[in-house]
Amino acid sequence: MEQAQQRMDGPHGGALLGAEQAAAMIRSGGWFAIAADEPVLRRLPQGNWIGGTIPYFMGANGGEISREKVHVTPLPTSAHGGPWIRRYDAEHLHRICVDAPEHGYTLVILPAMTPVHQTYAREAPGFEDMFLKPVFGWVAGIHLDDINRCSPAAVDGSNSVLCSQEAVALHVPLPESQVAEIGIVNIFEQDHGDVIRFPSASFTITGCTVNGRQDNLAEYLRRRNADLRLPLVADYSGSMINVSVKAVDEARGAVELYAPVFPGVEYQLARPVGDYVQAFERALRDEGAGTACSFNCVLNFLYSDLEGRCTPGFNGPMTFGEVAYQLLNQTMVYMAVRRLPT
């Protein structure tokens, strides 16, 4: 692939380290994206980094759950003009792309299950300058055993502040000779079956239309005996965008989703996938090599039994949601820096 060949030398992906090694890297300078469980993040020194809570990783030895290790990704930056960190509450999140450099990229980390997460999920496609500047990132989460006991948080490493209600963004200018490229690797495709539409943007679904007829999504999924590990998939001009099912409440006739569906978008159930790792390797073949930074979804980790299994070409945190401009589910997101032809 032409673009892959042009990707730059420099920081390529990150590494899963002990806390002391991570602290040493922070002290050595450079800018970093960091992921770890909350107590470990609290122990890291102040410095040029942003981070988020998560104990699920893909490391060199395969998928791993660790409350001690730290995933550290060095980020490509420019020698001219340093990156800057901004924190956004739900009210001010809409200006994230306006604050971004005219030429560069923005890495954003959102704490899961918060108003700022929901605002990004629902409204990001309409933010000013969205899609005009590269924005990518991930949703911070917690160990599934800790649900209802701990809160996800994003971290502003410049002053060691854990933000449970704010998104933390790193705006990074790049030299004119380089460009940040955001891409996704999604193994799921539409099954070319029923077409499902929704009346409004929502995380909680009751009514929908199926092939133009009014229906209830929970009832529809039950009738289809649908595998709830498979997402709903929408075709955005050729890019497959997933929305994952969180739970079905048959008594209420409601379906909870990990990301909102949108009105005016046609969704279909995903075609079943045989072996995730094989499908991932096929999808990654042209995309993943030489990425500077990447994240994959914890649902892929869980549903595909990735603990102890490698996804070659990718290492990074396994997250509660991914951002490639808009919020995604069950998708790997990567950023690569390309050198522009002179």
């Binding site: 032409e2 809409h94 200006r95 306006v98 005219e102 496609p125 309409g126 000013e128 300058d129 969205m130 899609f131 005009l132 500047k133 590269p134 004119e176 460009v179 490229e181 955001i182 891409g183 996704i184 955005y236 001009s237 050729g238 890019s239 949108f262 009105p263 005016g264 978008v265 490639a324 401009y325 808009q326 390309r338 522009l340 032809p341």
Partner: protein, 238 residues
């Protein structure tokens, strides 16, 4: 001509309105002007004196007006909000009608927020509030001159020319029938999002805004898109 009359002329405040009070803050480069309706000035005074408000008068509001030289100008008035008088503003809009029209015209031709805020020394939140209010009220009738061909600088750098907003290539791209070879994620998402926003909406000015944004995407990313930009346009023109 006294100072108040001078500012009345500078700010295009016509009869029967007058400048009641002026404050100039040299350090902050800020100008505050209190205007009142001559016929209603007594009423305003009496209303205050009597502890009640007469029809057409309300609490004092402040709207950001067009700059006067290097000074930011703010108009204060107890008159009811107006969508007509250029030096007053509408309820919920932070700008006078004159300033709102100027900002709307710049947004309509695809000028980015940062440029507008920088050039006019405006607060981003105020511009966002104006745009949000315009969308809510479907007041999208602001017409604005075409941005013109701002691409001379780009095309002279060896990059393929980016068509003008009037070129049918943009409508064809939005129709989505010839975009199959577009591989860039951001462009795919932008196109899909725009198609969704325009579906079932019959508003030519909104459509123009979206075409301006789509064109701005190509302008902003011209160098990065260079390997495939010409092919994208060629495919769409077929």
């Amino acid at each position: 001509m006294n100072t108040r009359e001078l500012y009345r002329q500078l700010l295009a405040i016509g009869d029967p309105w007058r400048v009641r009070r002026l404050e100039i803050n040299v350090r902050d480069k800020r100008l505050d002007i209190w205007v009142e309706h001559v016929a209603g000035s007594t009423g305003g005074f009496l209303s205050r004196a009597l502890g009640k408000k007469s029809a057409g008068f309300d609490r004092e509001r402040v709207w950001r007006h067009l700059n006067v030289g290097r000074y930011r100008a703010f108009v204060h008035s107890e008159a009811a909000p107006s969508g007509v008088e250029p030096f007053l503003g509408e309820e919920g809009i932070p700008f006078t009608n004159a300033m709102a029209a100027r900002v709307s015209s710049l947004l309509a031709v695809g000028t980015c927020y940062r440029a507008i805020c920088t050039a006019m020394d405006l607060d981003f939140e105020d511009v966002w509030q104006l745009k949000a209010a315009r969308y809510r009220g479907a007041d999208t009738n602001d017409t604005a001159p075409d941005a013109g061909n701002e691409l001379v600088a780009w095309t002279s750098g060896g990059l393929p020319p980016i068509p003008d907003v009037s070129d049918p290539v943009w409508e064809r791209m939005l129709a989505g029938d010839h975009n199959s070879r577009i591989k860039i994620l951001s462009l795919r998402l932008l196109l899909s999002q725009t198609q969704i926003q325009l579906r079932n909406v019959d508003d030519p000015s909104l459509r123009q805004q979206k075409i301006h944004k789509l064109r701005r995407y190509f302008i902003n990313n011209a160098r990065a898109l260079r390997p495939e930009m010409q092919r994208i346009f060629d495919d769409v023109r077929v």
